[in-house]
């Protein structure tokens, strides 16, 4: 018989190695599916690696994909720190995309347009996140369920827009009109899609880290998440912290949508997010809710997504493998996390 025994201390190397162990376990587990699909495991992962990180263009593509997941990852990490279970980053991203697209379509100087897109997009995301937070505070509605259900509501609202008032009367496609050319985020490296929004995402991570680790609000968020009772005794207004967290989290998720509109698609369509909101949960967990860890975690998932398409073309393994890898990585990470607090002991064995 084995049993879990509480650790008194966790070795430092173990904390750092943990996500890597989880990722290694994930890749090994998913290699079974590659084998079932009849492709060579080494070959398939090789194609994924070279297509996502093999040359400078591939790296920029991976970074472009990582940007929205950095934002949603940060959104989830901060929310989960306060035990505000925001599963609604997907809907908040969509709201941010729609709102910024509205603003971006108005003719005005480029810099102003981009700034307004970011502000309005973030505000839209924050507003959506405010709903589950308010419902939890006022009506004790479970935030997991309400934020999940809101994703569907926002998605259908977006569909109503692009099938209705925004529908392209010329082509008949359900896509929004494009934003003004001047509002397109500048491309940083000629010949790639690496846009300004990616840099903003990379800067947002250390800023969020600073906010969580070094500011009063960050302290309140952490205490509220770790022990709401103690927070209350310590004079922290838990409800207000919850609302601040929701606003912050929603704004970050909204920015993910802004980046997709301003830097990648320049308009809104039904599949503007391939589930970046849910990927944010995986990213946040791989990062162990540390904003700094969000960057490498998002880049890893982005590499898997970018690589999976190339792998699918080269080996015929369905690209949905990247979704399976995401789910497996999340579960593997959770199990790995268990071993920071516990270790396995053989019961009855000599110690």
């Amino acid at each position: 018989m084995f049993r879990l025994e509480a650790r008194t201390s966790t070795p430092a190397w173990f904390n750092l190695a943990l996500p890597l162990i989880a990722i290694a376990a994930t890749l090994i587990l998913c290699s079974g599916l590659i084998a079932i699909a009849g492709a060579g495991v080494i070959e398939a992962y090789g194609v994924m690696l070279s297509a996502s990180l093999g040359d400078s263009y591939a790296i920029t593509e991976t970074l472009v994909r990582a940007a929205p997941m950095i934002f949603t990852g940060l959104a989830v990490a901060i929310a989960f720190r306060a035990k505000f279970w925001n599963i609604g980053a997907e809907g908040q991203l969509l709201a941010g995309a729609v709102a910024s697209c509205f603003v971006g379509a108005i003719p005005m100087p480029g810099t102003l347009a981009m700034l307004l897109m970011a502000i309005v997009g973030a505000a839209a995301g924050a507003l959506v996140a405010l709903v589950p937070a308010t419902l939890r505070i006022k009506f004790k509605v479970d935030d997991v369920v309400s934020s999940l259900l809101l994703n569907s509501v926002i998605y259908y609202a977006l569909m109503a827009l692009i099938e209705g008032p925004w529908k392209d009367t010329f082509s008949g496609y359900p896509i929004s009109p494009p934003i003004e050319d001047s509002a397109n985020f500048p491309v940083l490296i000629e010949g790639t899609r690496l846009h300004l929004g990616v840099v903003v995402a990379l800067i947002a991570a250390p800023l969020c880290w600073f906010l969580i680790a070094r500011t009063t609000l960050g302290f309140r968020i952490r205490v509220t998440g770790e022990n709401p009772e103690a927070a209350r005794y310590g004079g922290i207004n838990v409800q207000r912290v919850l609302l601040s967290t929701a606003l912050l989290s929603g704004a970050l998720a909204g920015l993910a949508g802004v980046g997709e509109v301003g830097g990648v698609h320049f308009q809104v369509m039904s599949d503007i997010s391939p589930g970046y909101g849910y990927s944010g949960i995986v990213v946040a967990m791989l990062a162990r809710l540390n904003p700094l860890g969000v960057v490498p975690a998002a880049i890893f998932l982005a590499a898997v997504m970018t690589g999976a398409e190339a792998m699918s073309r080269a080996t015929g393994v369905p690209a949905f493998l990247s979704d399976v890898i995401q789910g497996t990585a999340l579960l593997a990470m959770l199990v790995a996390l268990l071993f920071t607090a516990y270790r396995i002991r053989r019961v009855g064995a000599q110690t």
């Binding site: 479970d142 995986v282 979704d323 579960l331 959770l334 199990v335």
Partner: protein, 314 residues
Amino acid sequence: MSAVFEQIFQVGFLAAIIRIATPLAFATLGEMFSERAGVLNLGIEGIMLLSAMAGFTAASLSGSLWLGVLVAVLVGALMGALHALFTVALGLSQHVCGIGVTLFSSGLAYFLYRLIFGQQSVPPSIDGFKLAPIPLLSDIPVIGPAVFNQFTLVYMAIIAVPLAAFVLYRTPWGLAVRMVGENPRAADSAGVSVIATRFQAVILGGALMGLAGAFLTMAQFNAFTFGVVSGRGWVAIALVVFGRWDPWRSAGAALLFAFVDALQLRMQASGLGHIPYEAFLMLPFIFTIVAMAFMSRNAVAPSALLKPFRREER
């Protein structure tokens, strides 16, 4: 407006409510058993999808619908066991594990479906279940054709409700489930194995979610498409709250939701002016959120919900 009211009381409309409610009832009962034992299962959306895919595939390859149902139930139970392994045996966060199970099983469902059926412009379909009218009962006016001229799986859902209530409230196992969900420490002292009971409840829940998935691809749509579950799992979680963790009330909640959904479909079909159809599609979700806001105040969740149990810890 009177035209809308006339339509509500048509046989077809009542039958539609029952049909929409069926997968929701299975899923809601499944989630209810899991939560009654203290385990929130957010894997439900993915479990339904994977079961729907597995059942469809089995039925399509073997030609036997009931084999498909069996496979869907087994897959659902298996995924329930996976969720229990993480949350009950290892005591990991139920929220995050559930999302993990959903991401994993939806990814797997799409991956395997594409692997088996390849990329086709028209999704392959099967000859799904046929209506199985019950003699005599189906002759009762209005109620008969609506309730007793349905798929066998619908009758199973109708029977599942009193059966679930009986199991939960009248059997020793049901008592054990309620105990480990309310006060695991007391249950443990009384000699009930908390871990085993929770595993059983979550696995039973998964099996019921599997039935819900089977209904979608083998009776309702007769094909597996990417939006085949489309949030029904999430709705079921809300319906459990709405139904206050009780089989009868949960089934009532499923019926109420199905009524709103069927109404939405009717309003779409009747081309109510210039309202976009998406407004109707979001209606059931908004309804659920609002309903939860009203219900959650008095709703009392099982007290040990979300709390892992470790015997050696006090």
